[in-house]
């Protein structure tokens, strides 16, 4: 199980290759890339900011929750911060399990949970200036560590 916050490009091919093993059965991945358009406006680039110490702790929480809920054998989550250009990978999730169902579900769960509890923020830069994207106010009661 690996979860990391990085400031350098995420090399998904290398990560997938390193993940291969005959005993896996199934792997499922999610790659989140910066879009060149948002809410009808052209986007030039994004800035991701984080509260790193807490974000790393919360990523670990995502991993342990996913392990508890689904029969998975491995899970990797990498989130990049800093300035990202269009098309660059911001987040990458890789799940291994014996069967496909758990792999799909754990992958979906992980990205959804990141958006709920991991303190990372994105600022979108476009032709009309910059704006902080606010996806979800944190629901304090539902997001404590178990």
């Amino acid at each position: 199980m690996i979860c990391k916050i990085v400031e350098t490009p995420i090399e998904t091919d290398k990560l997938i290759n390193a993940f291969q093993s005959e005993s896996l059965g199934a792997t499922c991945s999610f790659t989140g890339m910066v879009r060149g358009e948002s809410r009808g406006q052209k986007v030039t680039h994004l800035e991701y900011h984080t509260y790193k110490e807490m974000a790393e702790k919360k990523l670990l929480q995502v991993v342990s929750e996913a392990k508890e809920r689904f029969k998975i054998s491995d899970l990797l989550i990498i989130h990049r911060i800093g300035t990202l250009q269009i098309g660059e990978v911001a987040v990458f999730i890789l799940v291994a399990s014996a069967h496909r169902d758990a792999a799909f579900k754990a992958c979906r769960f992980s990205i959804d949970r990141i958006k709920q509890i991991v303190p990372i923020w994105k600022k979108e830069f476009g032709e009309d200036g910059a704006v902080w994207i606010e996806d979800s106010p944190v629901d304090v009661n539902e997001n404590k560590s178990p």
């Binding site: 900011h49 911001a90 990205i111 709920q116 979800s136």
Partner: protein, 82 residues
């Protein structure tokens, strides 16, 4: 007591600093911190409710107690991933 509060995203733009110091009553709770912040930074007005507060890297409810040695942070709505 004097406490330190970390600020992120637009909360950082409001306070102008990654970490601020605030004088707050002893045995203060998260709700007291909100009140102090709203007085010191009127720009939080109307947006304070959307900010979560963390104590020692864990999200904290309104009634959670704050002590001077705690690591406290303001967490505006998050937007990780894509």
């Amino acid at each position: 007591m004097l406490i330190k509060v970390k600020c992120f995203a637009w909360a950082l733009e409001v306070t102008g600093a990654e970490e601020i110091q605030i004088e707050i009553k002893d045995s203060a709770k998260v709700s007291d911190l909100r009140e102090c912040l709203s007085q010191k930074y009127p720009q939080f007005s109307g947006r304070m409710e959307s900010i979560a507060v963390s104590i020692n890297q864990e999200f904290a409810g309104e009634g959670s107690a704050i002590s001077a040695s705690d690591e406290i942070a303001l967490i505006p709505p998050i937007s990780g991933g894509i």
